[in-house]
Symmetry: C2
Subunit: 203 residues, 2 copies
């Protein structure tokens, strides 16, 4: 069957536990994350090529014009994005590539890589989402409203995702295992195995 890796997009509202789940997945060396390219200035704790790949605004705009990016977004005056070549190389080497990005970027990825697996990581119910959005102690009402508006906007795109994985409180490993199964099962899809299918057509 296929020896190529999978492209896995993980999105979810603030407090859905994306960071924890990604760390659990990365314990298995068949998984890796794609390093984003940005036009923002490196900070003191940045390590070029590790936290981000740094380029100038001009270079970033060139990458956009040349169609080199699988997805990109602007955030407070800086660009952030993922080069197509980075993803292609990692997948070809057999790695399962995780992109932890928001919904707009996820849909950009799906249009460039139709075989990408879009996973929405979700709290188990609305009350949990609400309390997680409110619950980070020091949030002002304005902060909370901003988060709720952002979450509402994100959720409009939820039907475009392939899978919904529920992350129950204290069960991050269970959620990670569900994602591993999704990846394993997708490697058995007919679409991912067109070479195998072609081989049999010789019959």
């Amino acid at each position: 069957m296929t020896s190529k890796g999978s492209l896995i997009v993980i999105s979810g509202p603030a407090g859905s536990g994306k960071g924890t789940i990604v760390k659990l997945l990365l314990q298995d060396e068949s998984y890796t994350v794609s390093i984003s390219t940005t036009s923002r200035q490196p900070r003191s704790d940045d390590i070029p090529g590790v936290t981000y790949n740094f380029v100038s605004s001009e270079e970033f705009i060139d990458m956009i014009s040349n169609g080199e990016l699988a997805e990109f977004a602007e955030y407070v005056g800086n660009f952030y994005g993922t080069p197509i070549s980075t993803i292609t190389e990692l997948i070809s080497s057999g790695k399962n590539v995780i992109l932890e990005i928001e919904t707009q970027g996820a849909l950009q990825i799906k249009s460039r890589f139709p075989e990408a697996i879009l996973i929405w990581l979700s709290p188990p119910d609305y009350d949990t989402l609400d309390s997680r959005l409110r619950g980070r102690g020091t949030n002002t009402d304005e902060d909370i409203n901003k988060r709720l508006t952002a979450a509402r906007r994100e959720l409009q795109l939820l039907p475009y995702y392939d899978y919904i994985v529920i992350n129950e409180k204290g069960k991050a490993e269970e959620a990670a295992e569900k994602i591993r199964k999704i990846v394993e099962v997708n490697s058995m899809s007919t679409k991912q195995n067109s070479d195998f299918v072609r081989e049999f057509y010789k019959l």
Copy 2:
């Protein structure tokens, strides 16, 4: 998440091990098979309602005219088919319903039940397929040629299947486990969880 069962169609060439895999899946009581309806005469070893549901040719033709069948086929003058109501009732009760049918029927099922999971059970390679088709001891050349022609015809529809599960020699339990994972993962699909998605839209 969803409490409905899944509809699983399993097809594959002669000698792919379908029967063994289905038996393994049925050890778990969340799985069941749908009993076919036929217009053929009951034989001495038939148990009505267990091996088949028996109806007259007229009754069967009525079922076709009334659009009651999810799939049907004619074989040496007799009709065989699966009523839509049987499938719907079993799925609603939470059962995972297995249909072991050939490719034409599988595509009929997919058009009636777009959420059906079409699984192609395959020998690992062409040589194995060839030797399994030839290998049942007493086959004449004519038999073998018939089987090869049938297999070739079936394989034309392989790209319409959702998954390809390889059944390696002596590893039927592994293949069954792959199918269990496919079913589990499909229960996390966004399509299968539209109620859950709607719940979150209330946000």
